[in-house]
């Protein structure tokens, strides 16, 4: 029979990777002493499923490898063999090799057969060696996998050589008696087992993205309709106005629902942390406990993907630089085991991700010293909050030695840049001797921006609401000039005044129109505008995708009247304003509209 198996192979590759992730989570939990019989069974089932699929799709090496792994796991789950640390290490590596193998098969590249064979040998070796066994709780009893209570009947297969066989009728009579009492052995799905939800479907991201784009166009069409409807007399056309209002509501609901499809839980990235933390701590000889909260917090898929590296970096950093060695901790009277707490939660339309450690905290003196070595603008009179911000400066690393764990000090500024590129912000709080907390704030989605539309020199721009502190018409004497630059006196704080069009003279800028106080990266600046036009939710169109990257603007949108409007990048504008204020930079093309 001609049946194309390849169309199922793709599903198998995805499935195998899900099983590998589940195995990793289970192993790390077991290693940390949080395992029980059910985790061992789930571990075995995962390996078993991969083996079955690999064999079915003719991936012999993977099937044989998984068979060896399965045999070991089977002995462990039956308590015929103990699981010790060295074995967990090898099994984790085995998982990595299997994942690489599956990815290679999926991408049609030759898998690394030698690497797999090497791990297979080590797997077999490790299962034979002795070591400190990991204690695994015996409860709850593995009912579903327990041997049946019925008396075993003698085997009497019809055909030993075949791949299938039937039991004879007469034996079935006995069987029916034995099976007369109903046995319900259903159990709740164990917490860490891979959950295959029959009510969900896999859809490619590109399909969802095209929905997001289409609904974005619909939102624009809706604004155009309402814009056009202003020409009508609402009293006469009451029902039309009502229908328009309803269209707007439905469009918004549709948009929310579609953006909701893109939302995935933080567990997508958090699930990688225990394994990584375990490896890093082991390599550095540190003892840590990782606590994770808010895995269920949902965030746009693209945001989650792009915040993954920064987040992993922060956790690595907390273990490497934050948590002290067990000896140092004991000497300070702290528990030898360090604590790293990672959490995510929704807060006012943003997602807040925190990485907190109970290590030594940031070292103020060393940061200032390093800053002066790097010729950064810093001063001992600065507040702690200002000093901490220095760690995000390019090329900054306070680690006395460069370790292979946290890289070469290119970390924090990359973290900051990546987070800010997503429309988010990262900040750090630290108490000497008690630890540091890094906080990442991200918008829920990249597709929509809550913005205020403002007019500047006849152009309409969108300022993200998240960055607006206030808008004001400056009173007499509130605007002055410091070092040739216009500044706004806001309750004693002097903020640089920025104008989009640099050809307008400073005095014009100060005296005319309104000022919008922008806040980004913990700094503020005042932007001169002509007028505030309104407040909108705008659909963000990427400039990179549609045109090219333009510094100073984070994207563009299409207004209700069909015109294109730029969305201001507040972080860029504020930082430029401060840099210019200090260095007396000349004409700044990035800010010239």
């Amino acid at each position: 029979m001609a049946l194309d198996l390849s169309r199922f192979a793709k599903a198998f590759y995805e499935e195998a990777q899900d099983h590998l992730s589940a195995m990793e989570t289970l192993l790390v939990a077991i290693d940390a002493g949080r395992g029980d019989d059910e985790s061992l069974n789930a571990l075995f089932r995962a390996a078993h499923s991969i083996k079955g699929g690999a064999a079915a799709f003719g991936h012999t090496q993977l099937a044989e490898f998984t068979h060896d792994l399965e045999t070991i796991l089977d002995r462990v789950r039956k308590r015929e063999a103990a699981l010790h640390k060295a074995m967990v290490d090898v099994i984790l590596e085995a998982g990595d090799v299997m994942r690489a193998h599956v990815v290679a098969l999926d991408t049609n590249t030759p898998p690394d057969a030698a690497a797999m064979e090497e791990i297979r040998m080590r797997l077999v070796d490790a299962s034979g060696t002795e070591g400190e066994a990991i204690t695994i709780a015996a409860a709850p009893p593995p009912a579903a996998l327990e041997d049946s209570d019925d008396d075993w009947l003698a085997a009497d297969e019809d055909d030993d050589d075949e791949d299938f066989g039937f039991f004879t009728e007469e034996k079935n009579e006995e069987v029916k008696e034995a099976a007369a009492a109903p046995v319900i052995e259903a159990k709740a799905t164990p917490e860490h087992a891979p959950v295959v939800d029959a009510t969900s479907i896999r859809v490619s991201v590109s399909k969802v993205d095209s929905l997001v784009n289409l609904v974005g166009e619909l939102v624009i069409t809706d604004s155009m309709l309402r814009e056009g409807a202003r020409a009508f007399d609402y009293d006469v056309q009451g029902r039309f106005a009502e229908a328009l209002a309803q269209l707007e509501r439905n469009t918004r609901n549709l948009q929310e629902a579609i953006l909701g499809i893109r939302m995935i839980p933080m567990s997508f990235v958090f699930s990688r942390l225990p394994r990584m933390a375990r490896d890093v701590a082991a390599r550095l000889g540190k003892d840590i406990e990782l606590e994770i909260h808010g895995e269920e917090t949902e965030l746009d898929k693209r945001l989650i993907e792009q915040v993954t590296d920064p987040l992993l970096h922060l956790v690595r950093n907390a273990i490497d630089h934050g948590i002290e060695s067990p000896a140092a901790r004991t000497a300070k009277g702290k528990p030898a085991r360090g604590h790293v707490r990672v959490g995510a939660r929704h807060q006012g339309g943003m997602v807040v991700i925190t990485v907190a450690d109970d290590g030594g905290g940031l070292d103020r003196a060393r940061i200032l010293q390093k800053a002066s070595e790097l010729a950064l603008d810093a001063d001992d009179s600065w507040s702690d909050a200002d000093v901490w911000k220095l760690v995000f400066a390019p090329g900054f690393s306070t680690s006395a030695e460069v370790t292979d764990v946290s890289g070469r000090g290119v970390g924090m500024d990359v973290v900051r840049r990546n987070v800010e590129a997503l429309g988010g912000a990262v900040e750090v709080d630290s108490v000497a001797g008690e630890g540091a907390t890094f906080t990442i704030r991200l918008p829920l989605t990249l597709a929509i921006v809550d913005g205020m539309s403002v007019s500047v020199d006849g152009e309409v721009h969108i300022v993200p609401l998240a960055n607006i502190e206030q808008s004001l018409r400056p009173a007499d004497g509130q605007v002055s000039t410091v070092g040739g630059h216009p500044v706004l006196d806001l309750g004693g704080a002097y903020l640089p005044i920025v104008q989009l069009n640099e050809t307008v003279s400073a005095s014009d800028a100060a005296n005319d129109g309104l000022l919008v106080v922008l806040e980004a990266d913990g700094r503020r600046a005042a932007l001169r505008i002509d007028d505030v036009l309104g407040q909108h939710q705008v659909v963000l169109k990427s400039l990179e995708d549609n045109y090219r990257r333009v510094p100073g603007f984070s994207g563009a949108t299409i207004l209700g009247d069909g015109r294109v409007s730029f969305i201001l990048d507040a972080s860029h504008i504020v930082n430029r304003a401060h840099r210019k204020g200090r260095t007396h930079a000349r004409h700044d093309p990035a800010l010239a509209a």
Partner: protein, 128 residues
């Protein structure tokens, strides 16, 4: 003659889909279930002619499913095949004890599956 309705039970979506595709290609009707619990629900609400089940599944494994099905009046004589990667005597004994009609080793090639089904259905007709 209406098509036979086969219940395919396996926790692995790819295996399940492949099994279902082979069966559909061979002219059978197929319903799928991802574990014993779901299979039991399906069996209670539809009239299944043949059950093909995996052994290792979360929530309820294949042997328990067979036992539970056999306790239902409607499934006293329904052919139930265990599809298993283990073809040890021990496994066969357990399958027999639970009330399975027979066993088949996974992975299987599609032709063998169809041959097995034909043999099974022929056997059922003879017995009836």
């Amino acid at each position: 003659m209406s098509k036979l309705l086969i219940l395919a039970v396996d926790d692995s979506p790819s295996m399940r889909e492949m099994l279902a595709a082979v069966l559909r290609d061979s002219g059978y009707q197929v319903v799928e279930a991802e574990d014993g619990v779901k299979a039991l629900e399906v069996a209670k609400t539809s009239s299944i002619d043949v059950v093909l089940t995996d052994q290792n599944m979360p929530n309820m494994d294949g042997l328990s499913l067979v036992k539970n099905l056999r306790s239902l009046p409607a499934y006293q004589d329904t052919p139930i095949m265990m599809l298993t990667t283990e073809s040890s005597d021990e496994m066969k004994q357990k399958g027999r004890a639970a009330g399975a009609t027979g066993w088949m080793v996974k992975p299987f090639d599609p032709d063998k599956l169809v041959r097995m089904l034909k043999a099974l259905i022929g056997m059922k007709r003879q017995g009836a």
